[in-house]
């Protein structure tokens, strides 16, 4: 099966599909993290339908681009992309967080095709991505490594340990994306633990950085394409300004939707809003 590639406005439709799929998953499971999944939906869409080279029928293809979901709890959006790309069948949508499912509560590389490494404990995925990128450089492989972190996740010190190593080993084949939605589990990041300017922080760690609107698929497409051409020894960081819960009015920027599933009425309304566009 060929990977489905898209660009421009087609990506908007794909993002819509992913949002509906992830909400259906979480609704069926009555468990999961809709807020961060929705804020990351456009980023994941562009990665999986435009930027990354993967083979749905050969998930372990040696030269595939790697993706590490460092913020592992938003896996419903990643599972949705994998299903829509054909890594798994549509019927898995209803199995999220259920016993025996490849769609574990957090990504499990041993159970789920297309997951490059298991994650779920915050701050660790970026180190794994650094390891993958070092291997790619040393083996002179063409693949790139992408990892998605939350802004709240950047409170973990290990993130900065990994960033230092990415600079030391000149990992220009590594792109760190920040889902900068300003919220975390307990509330607003500004109140829980201010991140200050993450773009400046990564730049000071030696990264080539850019800040974009993380819901504008064209901006995402352009930023990812551009960073891919920059073979200058600098690791890349794209700070994506996003809105937690994006696409569902009553979830947007509301802390409680970090880890709560919608009820029947909320689910119906959310699906309608997404279908209607936003």
């Amino acid at each position: 099966m060929e990977q489905i590639k898209a660009s421009g406005t087609e990506l908007k439709e794909k993002a819509k599909e992913l949002r509906k799929t992830l909400l259906t998953m979480i609704y069926e499971a009555q468990s999961g993290h809709p807020g961060g999944s929705l804020s990351a939906a456009d980023i994941i869409t562009v990665l999986y339908f435009h930027t990354m080279n993967v083979r749905p029928d050969e998930p372990k293809w040696e030269d595939r681009d790697r993706f590490v979901l460092s913020k592992g709890h938003v896996c419903p959006v990643l599972y949705s992309a994998l299903i829509k790309q054909g890594f798994m069948e549509e019927k898995e949508i209803g199995t999220l967080r259920k016993q025996g499912s490849p769609l574990q509560g957090h990504p499990d590389m041993k159970r789920c095709p297309g997951i490059d490494i298991s994650t779920g404990s915050l701050g660790q995925g970026i180190s794994c991505a650094v390891g993958m990128a070092i291997a790619g450089k040393r083996d002179q492989r063409p693949y790139r490594v992408y990892t998605l972190l939350g802004d709240g996740e950047c409170g973990e010190g290990q993130v900065w340990e990994a960033a230092m190593a990415a600079n030391k080993y000149e990992l220009d084949n590594l792109t760190v994306l920040i889902d900068n939605n300003g919220l975390q589990n307990d509330g607003f990041a500004a109140e829980i633990m201010p991140t200050l300017d993450l773009e400046k922080k990564f730049a000071s760690f030696g990264f080539q950085t850019v800040r974009i609107n993380g819901h504008d698929v064209l901006e995402l497409e352009a930023a990812l394409d551009f960073m891919g051409t920059q073979k200058n020894g600098k690791p890349k960081c794209i700070v994506c300004n996003t809105v937690k819960g994006k696409g569902v009015s009553f979830m947007e920027n509301v802390p409680k939707w970090h880890g709560v599933a919608p009820n029947d009425e909320e689910y119906r309304q959310a699906m309608q809003e997404i279908e209607g566009g936003f």
Binding site: Q124, I134, A162, A165
Partner: protein
């Protein structure tokens, strides 16, 4: 008896493996000199990474390398490798059963002068509770090299702990060792001693002294505490049920506890545990730290006599 530190075996064996297998990587954490991996760094720079003082990051990078077919050996001190990076080991090495090896010098009380902060009496217990983990402490230089080679060949996470100081050489260079299989060092009918690491030579001395008194002690080098050689423990239970465990580790959750688990489930047999008495060490000579905790040949002999009286 010749003495060599098992950390020297660490350096020599990973270098040999690295020269032979280009997928072998060493990840140092700013203690390459102490852990004897400097020569690896100089000889095989393409297979070497030094992440500086960041053990958690080291384990994550190792996991990433393992997904790309590398066999990474993370090298640091036992106290930092096993506990500073504990959750990273759990999440990124053990849970996905990736081929990550953690090789740690300065196990047990051996960083004696450094004091409690650098001594490590908890590592084997902490790590043996994590599914998919293998936990090993070799007794001497030759067995350390063989067991590192075995760890390389084993597909999955392995923790190995080494001594800072020189310990007596017990084995010949050609002897073979298997992960999970205890090595019978001495046959005897009266009491069975299970020891690991540098306490094996202490137990050996005790067994010789006991023999002079007419007590025949059987001695096993239980280099792997997970997976434990339960057959060896079962055999000891069936033979006479008198068991002594000896380790340079907290008596909680180390070799002694692992043996007790088998004995308790068997419903017969008696175990006396010799080890660190659930207390922190301090800056002192190594032998003195062992003595303070009753980890001596005399203490082993005394426990053997008591077991035989009952």
């Amino acid at each position: 008896m010749e003495k060599r530190a098992t950390r020297d075996a660490l350096g020599a064996e990973v270098l040999r493996l690295g020269k032979e297998h280009e997928e072998v990587y060493v990840i140092d954490c700013d203690v390459a000199k102490s852990c004897r991996t400097l020569e690896f760094a100089q000889t095989l720079p393409q297979q070497h990474i030094n992440v500086g003082i960041s053990e958690q990051n080291a384990v994550g990078i190792a996991a990433g390398l393992a997904t790309a077919g590398k066999v990474p050996f993370v090298v640091t001190y036992a106290v930092f490798g096993s506990m500073r990076a504990c959750e990273q080991l759990r999440q990124e090495a053990c849970y996905p059963k990736l081929n990550v090896k953690l090789l740690c010098s300065h196990g047990g009380l051996t960083p004696a002068n450094d004091g409690a902060s650098h001594q490590c009496i908890e590592d084997m217990g902490v790590l043996r509770t994590i599914p998919n983990m293998t936990v090993i402490m070799p007794a001497d230089y030759a067995s350390a090299r063989k067991l590192i080679a075995a760890a390389y060949a084993y597909p999955g996470p392995v923790y190995m702990r080494f001594t800072r100081d020189a310990v007596p050489c017990i084995y010949g260079e050609d002897e073979e060792f298997e992960i999970g299989r205890a090595r019978l060092l001495r046959a005897g009918e009266d009491v069975t001693i299970f020891a690991n690491g540098d306490t094996v030579s202490i137990a050996l001395e005790a067994a010789e002294r006991l023999a002079e008194e007419g007590i025949q002690a059987e001695l096993y080098d239980m280099h792997t505490i997970k997976p434990l050689d339960t057959a060896a423990v079962q055999a000891a239970i069936e033979k006479n049920g008198r068991i002594i465990t000896v380790e340079d580790h907290n008596i909680l959750n180390g070799l002694g506890s692992a043996v007790c688990e088998v004995v308790a489930e068997a419903g017969s047999g008696k175990v006396v545990r010799i080890g660190v008495q659930d207390r922190f060490g301090e800056s002192a000579p190594y032998e003195e730290l062992l003595r303070m905790n009753g980890i001596t040949a005399e203490a082993i002999c005394e426990k053997a006599r008591l077991l035989l009286e009952k």
